[in-house]
């Protein structure tokens, strides 16, 4: 997994509430057994017109947001289906971080497991950031995960919080399964006790 330390780029405002994973990655892109080609599917019905050409009204088709590295999103982003294809697609499109107020739980975990940083700000902070990045001149920002702040063009910094465990995994690009398997003996011991006292679970 690609480590996340300090990343600069454009941030696109997508401030609607409850953007669900069906909208982020429609069903016709879910029929694979690998993770390839999902960049095409991201926001498909919003990004493309019925004839397949890019929808000029959609923010990710407009300069400079068509090269966005970050999305500034509305509350409950990623709600609905558990489909991780939504995160794979965003990542393949070049999105490294999402900045919002609240994220749906499964989506939030999926981001973490793919090295996509999710930052939670207060509604007031997010509203302000949404205004800033909606202007062409303010849309380039930087995220410093080590220092835990977002840097704006005008020099302002917005602090954010993140659990140390998540931060470390993102900064080092850790393989979560490999990390957990280092505790195999603990899991085995727990499992033996657990199944012995609840034999109907075997």
């Amino acid at each position: 997994m690609e480590p996340f330390k300090y990343v600069e780029g454009y941030a696109a405002p997508m401030l609607a509430a409850n953007v669900d994973t069906d909208v982020i990655m429609p069903k016709q892109f879910l029929k694979g057994i690998d993770r390839s080609g999902l960049d095409r599917g991201v926001f498909f019905d919003l990004r493309f017109l019925l004839d397949g050409t890019p929808n000029p009204d959609f923010v990710l088709n407009q300069d400079p947001w068509n090269t966005s590295t970050f999305l500034v999103v509305g509350p409950n982003f990623g709600c609905g289906s558990s489909r991780e294809h939504a995160v794979w697609g965003l990542k393949q499109l070049g999105i490294r971080a999402l900045i919002g107020t609240t994220f749906a739980g499964i989506f939030y975990d999926n981001c973490q497991r793919n090295g996509v940083l999710t930052i939670q700000l207060s509604p007031a902070e997010l509203k302000e950031l949404g205004h800033v990045v909606s202007e062409r001149g303010g849309s380039c920002i930087a995220i410093d995960l080590e220092a835990q702040h977002i840097l704006l063009v005008d020099g302002r910094a917005i602090e954010f919080k993140i659990d140390a465990l998540r931060k470390q995994a993102l900064m080092l690009g850790l393989d979560a399964i490999g990390t957990t398997l280092q505790r195999s003996d603990d899991i085995r011991a727990f499992e033996a006790r657990h199944l012995q006292s609840n034999p109907w679970l075997v």
């Binding site: 409950n76 659990d163 957990t180 899991i187 499992e191 609840n198 034999p199 109907w200 075997v202």
Partner: protein, 509 residues
């Protein structure tokens, strides 16, 4: 914003209490466990404490042992590929049950081969993974096949006290059995297959107490839809919900499944109820439930699965159902709902500009005008199916409405039973004949038009009365419009051709 002025239900957000014993334990599991034992605990805390291999930090992260997992053909392939690429094994193959449900056709005669290349690829790879990793599979020809969240309870694969994770957001369904179930993504499926655990952060706790006696014609779908309307699509984000109260005790285990299933539409990452005698009666004759002395021992243990009297929750919600009326959605988010007696809301009454734009967008997509009475909105399709509402009781409810009536002209009406066993039972009870006689398509089991991953897809402009769980844009087909409601309400819409209060039909009958 209030959609209906005709009735009002009080949800009191009573108080927000500090977390009690959570996060207080140190890195050593034993220490944390003893501390927890000395403090009154919620059922959620009991579920997590009893499944924590160890604490991972002082922020609530634990290594959580998962008792069971159900897997489907569309969210699991990349997880198995990950295991193959890393040369890893499945930790405990018997903990997983694989069921084909999302991509298979549901045509009235069972089709074993997937008609599209993508679906065939997924089902073939699924079969190969089950073979290679030694996991049990219910394929489409298996008499036990069906939607995973219908199949797992009816097999007795899910028991009280279990912690269950699965690659599907509606895994919350299992909370109705006194288990703790939650949805995970594909990377987590891989982690779970390889380690039988997940790196898990403890959630905040919310207790929803459902008081009162539901009026005639009111079902559990209406209760959960009303709750979602009240607290919003993100109202329970970050929380595990425990449902309690007389209205929960009064309804059947299957009806409770509908409530726990849809709690995820309010953002809950788990929703459950303490198990009771109804749960034990439901489980006792299930194929995989423990038998004999082991059953007795299990029940004794399950009786300890309740929230201690003095335990505190991070949030308390009180809901009164006496005045709840049959619900329908009018928008593109499950919280955009109202009583069938209500009207489409006016976005101009919303002061927040972004929220107003969301409402305007929803009404534009749904092609509805503010002030339009919900009752009377014409439909082109009626769909009864999904893990939310396609169990036998749901089909009985629908059949009572349909009996002696015909599907309205211009409406295509479909019934997709939640499992093949439900289908067989409905056949033997005569329900299937009632549906066929009325002009419904009586189909094979699968997820079908709930998410339209198979060939059951609506066309742009279609409008569907649906017993499912999500009315998102494009959910049932690009440009198609979904109105969520109970199975009986769908049946009523099917036979009248428009959204209608099922109670008015019942009175006629």
């Amino acid at each position: 914003m209030r959609v209906d002025a005709l009735y009002r239900i009080d949800i009191l957000l009573l108080l927000t209490l500090p977390r009690s014993d959570r996060d207080a334990s140190g890195p050593e599991q034993q220490q944390g466990y003893e501390l927890a034992m000395s403090t009154p605990r919620t059922l959620y805390q009991k579920h997590i404490d009893s499944h924590s291999v160890c604490e991972l930090d002082d922020q609530g992260h634990v290594l959580l042992y998962i008792d069971r997992q159900v897997a489907n053909e569309y969210t699991s392939p990349q997880a198995f590929s990950g295991l193959r690429e890393a040369g890893r094994k499945v930790w405990r193959p018997s903990a997983t049950l694989c069921v084909v449900d999302h991509v298979n056709p549901t045509a009235p005669e069972r089709i074993a081969d997937m008609p599209d290349a993508g679906g065939a690829l997924q089902v073939n790879y699924f079969e190969q993974n089950c073979r290679d990793f030694g996991i049990e599979l219910f394929d489409v020809l298996d008499k036990r096949q069906g939607i995973e969240h219908v199949v797992a309870p009816e097999q007795g694969f899910i028991l009280p006290g279990m912690v269950v994770a699965a690659g599907d957001s509606h895994t919350t369904t299992y909370g109705a059995l006194g288990a703790f179930g939650f949805g995970i993504g594909t990377s987590e499926i891989e982690h779970l297959l390889a380690t039988q655990t997940l790196v898990y952060k403890r959630l905040k706790t919310m207790r929803v107490t459902v008081e009162g006696e539901p009026g005639p014609g009111l079902v559990s779908k209406d209760i959960i839809m009303e709750l979602i309307r009240q607290i919003g699509a993100a109202g329970a984000t970050g929380y595990a919900i425990e449902f309690t109260g007389p209205a929960i005790s009064a309804v059947s285990v299957e009806a409770r499944m509908t409530i726990c299933n849809m709690a995820v539409e309010a953002g809950a990452r788990g929703a459950f109820m303490a198990p009771d005698d109804k749960v034990y009666a439901y489980l006792q004759d299930k194929p995989r439930a423990p038998k004999g002395a082991q059953w007795q021992a299990a029940v004794e243990q399950w009786k300890t699965l309740f929230t201690d009297p003095d335990a505190s929750f991070d949030k308390e919600v009180h809901m009164h159902v006496a005045d709840v009326q049959p619900m329908v959605t009018w928008g593109t988010s499950p919280d955009q709902a109202a009583s069938i007696t209500g009207v489409v809301p006016d976005p101009m009454q919303e002061k927040d500009l972004i929220l107003r734009q969301d409402l305007q967008r929803a009404l534009r997509y749904m092609d509805l005008q503010p002030g339009t009475a919900l009752e009377g909105i014409r439909i082109s399709h009626a769909f009864i199916g999904s893990c939310t509402n396609a169990r036998i009781e749901d089909l009985r409810d629908a059949a009572r409405v349909v009996s002696g009536r015909k599907v309205a002209a211009g409406v295509r009406a479909m019934i997709v039973p939640g499992s093949t066993m439900v289908r067989d039972q409905a056949e033997s009870e005569g329900l299937a004949q009632i549906f066929r006689d009325a002009g419904f398509e009586w189909r094979q089991s699968g997820c079908s038009m709930c998410l339209a991953m198979n060939d059951d897809v609506l066309s742009p402009g279609d409008r569907c009365a649906s017993s499912t769980n999500r009315n998102f844009e494009g959910r049932q087909g690009a440009g198609a419009r979904t109105h969520l409601m109970s199975p009986a309400m769908v049946a009523a819409a099917a036979v009248t051709g428009h959204l209608v209060d099922v109670r008015s039909l019942a009175l006629e009958a």
